[in-house]
């Protein structure tokens, strides 16, 4: 009798299990990464870390988890807010643990699969190695990666997620870093009005059109070329070096220690620029008007490493009148990608 009951129970559980599995099967699998047709090949070796839904979900959970910091208060998302293209909204320089402030502005996290180097000075050459830096930075998360892994091992939710993503419950440095990379690689922004215009699916106003032409003809595009709006090089655009009272940021020089790299910074992408204010490596400019004034008004610092493109006229910089400035700004705003800023896949 007991046996019969047992068998019936087992069978019904099996059936229930099957039917449940069928109903939870997502109708449309999450599309996580697609190379936009207008983009070049990725710099990241996608085959070394195939993006899966489970890997992505794990990376996303980690990205939003304060456990990564010493006192549990600071997550990656603290300084990288989606509605502002994953910049630190409202902070010229990013505030981290204990309210400490680092010297640099948090850049947008977008199209990282095409990044050749990371940080304003390009100090990290592999996205997978990146996340160690904010975790260990004393003014950001101030924690040791070994401790972070230990905390995740003790958290009941993580081991099963690692198993789903990587086959076993082992929480290793590689798996931790690669799942974070999987999440970050999916942050692709390629659906702005500009992209639609290029694809013939949207039209530009007269000012936006004029702005695009000026952007190309005035030389902006030589450093900020389509479609990524950065050439990933290190340049000086003549920012005066005395912005901080007692600290001079030497930029790329910090990494290469070559004189010719002094005060050079990685050319940032201009996608979603409308929302990534304040601008420049130290967040010194509040608005795009300020940025254009910097390029046009002859207030650049005539540094030895100032890019030659700015030295072609008698006045250093790029000659632009008020109308041209506002047209360029109108164009820059077409780089806003609402679908990216509001993409539900990236919401915790």
């Amino acid at each position: 009798m007991k046996l019969k009951l047992g068998i019936v129970l087992v069978i019904s559980i099996l059936l229930w299990g099957c039917s449940k599995e069928e109903t939870t099967e997502p109708d449309t699998p999450l599309v996580l990464f697609e190379k936009p047709s207008t983009f070049p090949n990725t710099s990241y070796k996608m085959e070394s870390n195939p993006i899966t839904e489970d890997g992505f979900l794990l990376g996303k959970k980690i990205f939003f988890d304060g456990k990564l910091s010493r006192d549990g208060t600071i997550s990656c998302a603290e300084c990288h807010n989606q509605p502002y293209a994953f910049t630190h909204h409202g902070h010229a320089q990013s505030h981290g643990i204990d309210g400490l402030v680092g010297p640099r502005n948090a850049p947008a996290l977008q199209n990282l699969a095409w990044g050749k180097t990371f940080f304003w000075d390009g100090g990290v050459f592999d996205l997978d190695l990146f996340s160690l830096a904010p975790i260990e930075n004393p003014v950001e998360m101030d924690e040791q990666i070994g401790n972070v892994l230990e905390k995740l091992r003790k958290d009941v939710t993580y081991p099963p997620m690692f198993k789903k993503a990587f086959g076993t419950e082992d929480i290793t440095t590689e798996r931790f870093l690669k799942s974070l990379s999987q999440f970050m690689l999916t942050l692709v922004s390629a659906n702005s009005k500009y992209d639609l215009y290029k694809a013939g699916k949207a039209s530009f106003s007269a000012d936006e059109k004029a702005g695009l032409t000026l952007f190309n003809e005035k030389g902006c595009a030589s450093c900020h070329p389509e479609p990524l709006f950065t050439d990933e090089s290190f340049r000086s655009n003549g920012l005066p070096t005395d912005f901080f009272r007692n600290f001079v940021d030497t930029g790329r020089y910090r990494i290469t220690e070559l004189k010719e790299d002094k005060y050079k910074f990685k050319v940032p992408s201009l996608r979603n620029i409308e929302y990534t204010f304040p601008y420049m490596h130290d967040g010194r400019f509040i608005s795009l008007e300020d940025v254009l004034d910097h390029y046009a008004d002859g207030n650049m610092a005539n540094l030895e490493t100032l890019d030659p493109i700015f030295k072609q006229n008698t006045k250093i910089g790029i000659a632009l009148n008020q109308k041209e400035k506002s047209q360029i700004i109108a164009f820059l705003k077409t780089l806003t990608d609402e679908s990216f800023l509001k993409d539900k896949r990236f919401v915790p």
Binding site: E136, T173, I255, E257
Partner: protein
């Protein structure tokens, strides 16, 4: 055989006692003599090396200041520039080890990385397994983590190369991707900073996205004693590392108490590459 009666620093005596040689010989000198002589002859007879035989070779890194074993924190030393210093941390990576035979053939131990830490006794001995029988005349190794490994995928970074393995004693620069090849820290009254300490963190593999300072150094040491690998002999190469060489007369704590960037590190790497010497080789039969 004869080697067994030569005096060596403390470490070797430890080996000696462990193997109970002393007591046996004290008790039965005559027996030992006979045994010794017969083994001596036996050794001569079997000096034909069987190339199929294998055994391990171990490298023992003994860190010294001059001739005194390093004592962390509590002991104060004086460098060549008459500056006092203590040592709180003394770590270095060893990789790309190779052993060379008298006939010039070289045995390379690829993809093996070791981190010698003064604070961790077990890290002072590196054991190289499966070395073919033969007479090895020199040992060579890199101080640091070669450039190929320094730019490798995270899946390649396990064991001592795993950034999660360091704890507070970090050996990885996350802000300028690369390993710290050599790390020495301590206190000195000559330091001009408020904490009265010094920190030498030497790294720099040559750069990935730009050519930068390369502080990888390869050390090659001849072994006068030869390391005689046999079926029943697993040689132990005893290296004496003289911390004083880090300073030589060129590095003064008063002038540089903090070195953490590769270009400044070059002078230190040039100094410490000379701190390694082979003290002697044990070819004890098992």
């Amino acid at each position: 055989m004869i080697n067994d009666f030569v005096f060596y620093p403390s470490h070797c005596i430890f080996l000696f006692v462990k193997k109970n040689y002393i007591s046996k010989k004290m008790k039965k000198i005559a027996f030992a003599l006979v045994l010794g002589i017969s083994v001596f002859f036996a050794a001569c007879e079997t000096s034909d090396i069987n190339p199929n035989d294998k055994n391990s070779v171990s490298l023992y890194f003994e860190n010294l200041v001059g001739t005194d074993p390093v004592v962390l924190n509590t002991k104060t030393y004086t460098n060549a520039s008459s500056e006092d210093f203590t040592i709180s941390t003394f770590n270095y990576f060893v990789s790309n080890i190779s052993l060379k035979k008298s006939d010039g053939t070289e045995l390379k131990f690829a993809d093996k990385y070791f981190l010698v830490k003064q604070s961790v006794e077990s890290s002072h001995t590196i054991t190289l397994p499966d070395v073919p029988a033969g007479d090895y005349t020199s040992v060579s190794f890199m101080v640091g983590v070669d450039s190929a490994k320094s730019v490798s995928d995270v899946s390649q970074r396990t064991g001592v190369l795993d950034p999660a393995s360091y704890g507070t004693d970090n050996m990885y620069w996350s802000w300028n991707s690369g390993y710290i090849f050599f790390k020495m820290e301590g206190k000195s009254a000559k330091s001009t900073n408020a904490a009265k300490d010094y920190k030498f963190h030497i790294g720099g593999f040559g750069g990935m996205t730009a050519k930068t300072a390369n502080n990888l150094r390869t050390v090659t040491l001849t072994m006068a004693d030869l390391a005689k690998v046999r079926k029943n002999i697993a040689p132990e190469v005893h290296l004496a590392i003289d911390v004083q060489k880090v300073f030589k007369s060129t590095l003064k704590i008063a002038e540089s108490n903090t070195i953490m960037n590769p270009t400044l590190g070059t002078a230190v790497a040039n100094n410490y590459k000379d701190m390694f010497a082979v003290e002697h080789v044990h070819n004890d039969e098992m």
